[in-house]
Symmetry: C2
């Protein structure tokens, strides 16, 4: 699904193309996931330092914007395909920063961004996927979820917000939901932004050191941090059970912000290249329209 159909992006000439980043970062479904075996500071492919990472992301941004326009144009002519980027991760893992830096490269008109917070009373009166369905991208759009249906098997699991039996059923419900989405033309790209316990501490302290960042902090963040092992385990279970062919999970090393931005950009690029959206053909007589226009003055 993720490999570029054609020329693997066009980087290489004679040299063999590198394996797609999607293959490198993808979580094999159904296998036990051990997050401690994934280095959050790794740079498994692509740029190796910040300067080249920022430059490479900017270059990807231009290509992403071009593909997005094609996707959107195709969507305006009946192509139902669309992309849904799901961002999950511990506090400070960079979900918001990814939206700002990666999604900020797209034309905002074609993006549909939804941040999921604690469910409202109205949302709690519905099945947990109800609010998710309402936020889905339309044909041609790139949808972005900052948190998602996975909160309902993450915080819900760690904080024991639902009976264990209901929780257990949710993994299958999510998988069936995502399979239906895929069948309807949604390319689902699920990114777990993986940071280390130490990195989170640094980032939380940064927020406390700068009054302009107080608003990003809540004492609840400390309570969640105290539950770090339980959250990691909840993520491992979600990644194991819900990395499917229809909607795989990717583990993004996110201790380095520039690498995280590059990796998410590159993943999106690979998926958009695989979609290979095309500008629609004219459904009208171009020459006649030109004649009519020229005759109007």
């Amino acid at each position: 699904m993720a490999k570029g159909k054609k020329k693997q992006g066009g980087e290489g000439g004679a040299k063999k193309a590198a394996p797609a980043l999607s293959e490198l970062l993808r979580v094999p479904g159904g296998e036990r996931v051990d997050l401690s075996a994934h280095d959050p500071a790794a740079t498994p492919a692509g740029p190796k330092d910040k300067a080249s990472g920022v430059a490479a992301s900017a270059e990807l941004g231009v290509r992403l914007a071009g593909l997005q326009e094609r996707l959107w144009a195709a969507g305006s002519a009946g192509d139902r395909r669309r992309v849904l980027l799901i961002l999950q991760g511990m506090d400070t893992s960079g979900k918001g920063g990814t939206v700002k830096h990666v999604i900020g490269q797209f034309n905002p008109s074609g993006c549909r961004i939804k941040g999921f917070k604690a469910p409202t009373p109205e949302e709690l009166n519905h099945p947990f996927l109800w609010r998710v369905v309402k936020a889905l991208p339309e044909p041609g759009e790139i949808g972005i979820f900052d948190r998602s249906q996975y909160e309902d098997v993450l915080v819900a699991r760690v904080r024991e917000l639902v009976p264990r039996a209901s929780l257990g059923r949710r993994y299958g419900q999510i998988n069936r939901f995502e399979k239906t989405l895929a069948e309807d033309g949604v390319t689902v790209v699920k990114c777990f932004l993986h940071i280390s316990y130490e990195q989170q501490k640094r980032r939380l302290l940064e927020r406390l050191d700068n009054p302009d960042k107080y608003w990003k902090f809540s004492p609840g963040d400390i309570e969640d941090r105290a539950l770090w092992p339980a959250y990691q385990e909840a993520y491992e279970i979600a990644l194991e059970r819900c990395s499917t062919d229809a909607a795989p999970w990717f583990v993004i090393p996110a201790d380095r912000k520039w690498y995280r931005n590059w990796a998410v950009s590159k993943l999106l690029l690979e998926h958009l290249e695989a979609l290979d959206p095309q500008y629609p053909k004219a459904e009208f007589d171009v020459a006649e329209c030109r004649r009519r226009l020229l005759a109007m003055d």
Copy 2:
């Protein structure tokens, strides 16, 4: 409403500050509007050529992003204020381009963009403002309407889609609606992107000359162009009746794309500076949180 509260942006030292762009472009309410007296190629303030216009817009973009973050931060702490940018204009006037270039400078997470198309059957079963209310920005957000409730007094008037009496009532309904919005903390900035008849012809022909732009064209655009005088009159009436203190209209000279982008950026800047949003104070004990964090390892 639009003047910077404090130092008028900080450009001037000894020299007298230039009148705010908002004052220059604002439509005086209740006075007869003659669009033919407004030059769509004018550059009534600010940069005079493309290079300096693009540079000035980029510089404004940085300041806009900073103010947006403050607005959003304040919104997260109970400040209900928000901005609603309404973009109207003839086909090819640059509504989409303005979203791409001006709104693209903001953090997309804090923007809520809605493009209004022909009403759906469900929307037609409700009052015309029903779908508008659903698309409003939430506290801290910058909402952007690409077309808006004004379509219901523009195309609805020109194409006679509703009885004349209903149409006549809509201007007052819009004014009352917008006044209520303003009272609830919404800064409404209504921009009419003013292009010339000749410029529209050039832009429509461009779309027909480039297969990658066919998707932006529809033969209906020619039919609307044939109704140019009726549309200009409908705009004049809307601008005259609905430029209020609560929600004034601005006429943006839009034949030059770089000037249009600069002008809308500058208008937004003046309104955001007037709002002067502030990062919220900490509602928790910063020192204690720091101690708890440091003690966690």
